[in-house]
Amino acid sequence: MLNYKPLEHEKEKASNGYLMSVMAVMAGLPLPIINLLATFLFFILNRRATPFVKWHCTQALVSQLTIFIMNSAALTWTIKAFTGSTPFTDKYFAYIIVVVVFNIVEVVVNISAAIRVRKGATVRWWFWAALTDMLVRKPASPYHAQ
């Protein structure tokens, strides 16, 4: 599986996929759709790239999708609470804290992934890597047994 040696330009492109996610998260707040759109755009631009690049772009995209769902719910709930449609509850504040923590973790692991992938290291995230393996079919994935 992990014997694949990416070329220099592949490392750079794959690393950029994660950096794009970080930039988009920062630019997209508080609108969660921005980061998903930016990552999706990067994914589309690299859909004909090498398996290594494609795999990492997909992993960045699916992790963004999760954050997008969590942030969308947080935004909707916040709008409802601020306009008085629903009250501010303990559950609301707890949810916002959890979402903020997940967002911070997302930014940190994305930066870390960008650095490590640039150096040619293997970066496989819990759950998202398995999901990416399923989405990126065998011949295209560098992380499937050859």
Binding site: L31, L75, T76, I79, K80, A81, F82, T83, G84, S85, T86, P87, F88, T89, D90, K91, Y92, F93, A94, Y95, I97, V98, V101, F102, W126, F127, A130, L131, M134
Partner: protein, 260 residues
Amino acid sequence: MKKLLFQFTILAVVFAGAWYTLSQLPWSKWLHASSFNKKRQEKLGELFIKTHRLDKKEITNDSVAFIMNSLKNNICMANHIDTGSIKVYVFRDEQVNAFALPGGSIVVNSSLISFCDSPDMLAGVIAHEIGHIQNGHISKRMAKEVGLSILMMFGGDNMGLLKELLRSVTSGKFNRSQESEADQSAVYYLDKTNINPAPLADFFEKMGKTYGNMPGMLEWVSTHPNAKERTSMVRKLAKKKTYRPALPVGEWAYLHSYNY
């Protein structure tokens, strides 16, 4: 696939566990969330009134304010609604309209007062707006409108956003079930205040006859239940009994003939 499901389950458990654990802490008490919510609503309402004042002239005549307040207070007191929680403003405007704002403010246009044939009719409209406030329709609509308008925030035109929100709030975009609910509440409030609810039905009938076929009213017609439908529903709910007039003759004559 099994591995994927297992990892997803672990992730979901971590998320739900963290959320559940944190939600056991009294965050809303620590952050004084309930008073913040009320204050926020009031401030939002005040902001809307300030913005509305930029375009329309507020009628600040003391007698007009006194009469309008006594009408509103009578309805509130008879229905155990805090009179201080609802404020009535009169603005000079040619459009026959009244609308409720966040924080419990009701704006009545001068043309609506002139359009009403009796104080009971005006009381019916005010009771209908109180119905919207008490049923939480304003905040529900605000949530929807803010959600739709939030993209505009990125243009940096906050005043434009505020005006757009105000335009949307004043255009009467409640859904049909909310309008029906406010009508039913109005009939209940009026009956409790010993004011005849039937003139509210007359108001809808008159609105339908006067403006029903105007192109500009198409939106109003699409979001409001049919005038005939509302008229018959209010008439059905109104009890056949003797009511007292909503305002003394002299007060109504002053309000109705005031040069807005």
